[in-house]
Point group: C2
């Protein structure tokens, strides 16, 4: 039962009595939680989510409800790929960025060689060893 | 019904008769598909996945089964975060890589200024305008 004495969003959606030990009540107490629960129920089923929550410590349940709701809403928006579409997109973005970092490393290394060839002491990379993947040993005494 | 005449992996798991129009059969015909379907059934429920597949064109169903199986297996491995854990990890990786690219851009820009100050013609960036986000105009005639 929600703190207000009204049924929680899940029980309101399921049109059932909300008891004091309702597993959904602590996580579906806001006004718009019925709509969120509707998505969860449509994709996962109330019974499956209830079992999932029962099998984890209370402290983890809020996070689990958030991630289950996220997956459910993604699946309703994109029935074929759900939130896996976001995983694909992020993996692609990581690959592009890794390519840019590699390209930048090569350019920086080339630039460092050019400057050393022309006898200019270069101190820029010592502050950013993570970019080149190693520490600029020219700074060591 | 699977092409072999045996029940499909889904019907085998559900211990039901596999009919010619079984919605799962085209996607659960391999030997190990029963274990995959068990994960899907535990997380989403066979009925919910059946409805999901019925509401999309046949051509999309194989991809949908793959992504639903992916989400189900991730949720069994990590009941609290499921595959959302991977989204968080990838978002973090993107943020780190974006930081590295920004840092590299700043270093490359500084390096370009240094080399121009010392009167060295620098041709390196012209081949890689994407790194600096602009074309090296010093190459224009």
């Amino acid at each position: 039962m929600a703190a207000s004495g009204n049924p929680c969003g899940a029980c309101k959606f399921l049109r059932r009595k909300c008891t004091d030990d309702c597993i959904f009540a602590p996580h579906f107490c806001s006004q718009d939680s019925s709509a969120c629960f509707a998505a969860i129920h449509k994709v996962f089923g109330a019974s499956n989510v209830s079992k999932l929550l029962q099998n984890m410590p209370f402290a983890d349940r809020s996070e689990a409800v958030v991630t289950v709701a996220y997956e459910a809403q993604a699946r309703l928006r994109d029935p074929v790929y759900g939130c896996v579409a976001q995983i694909f997109a992020l993996q692609q973005q990581v690959a592009i960025l890794q390519g840019q970092v590699m390209q930048a490393k090569a350019l920086l290394a080339r630039s460092m060689v050019t400057q050393q060839t022309f006898g200019q002491p270069y101190h820029g990379f010592a502050d950013h060893p993570s970019i080149l993947g190693y520490t600029d040993t020219t700074q060591q005494t």
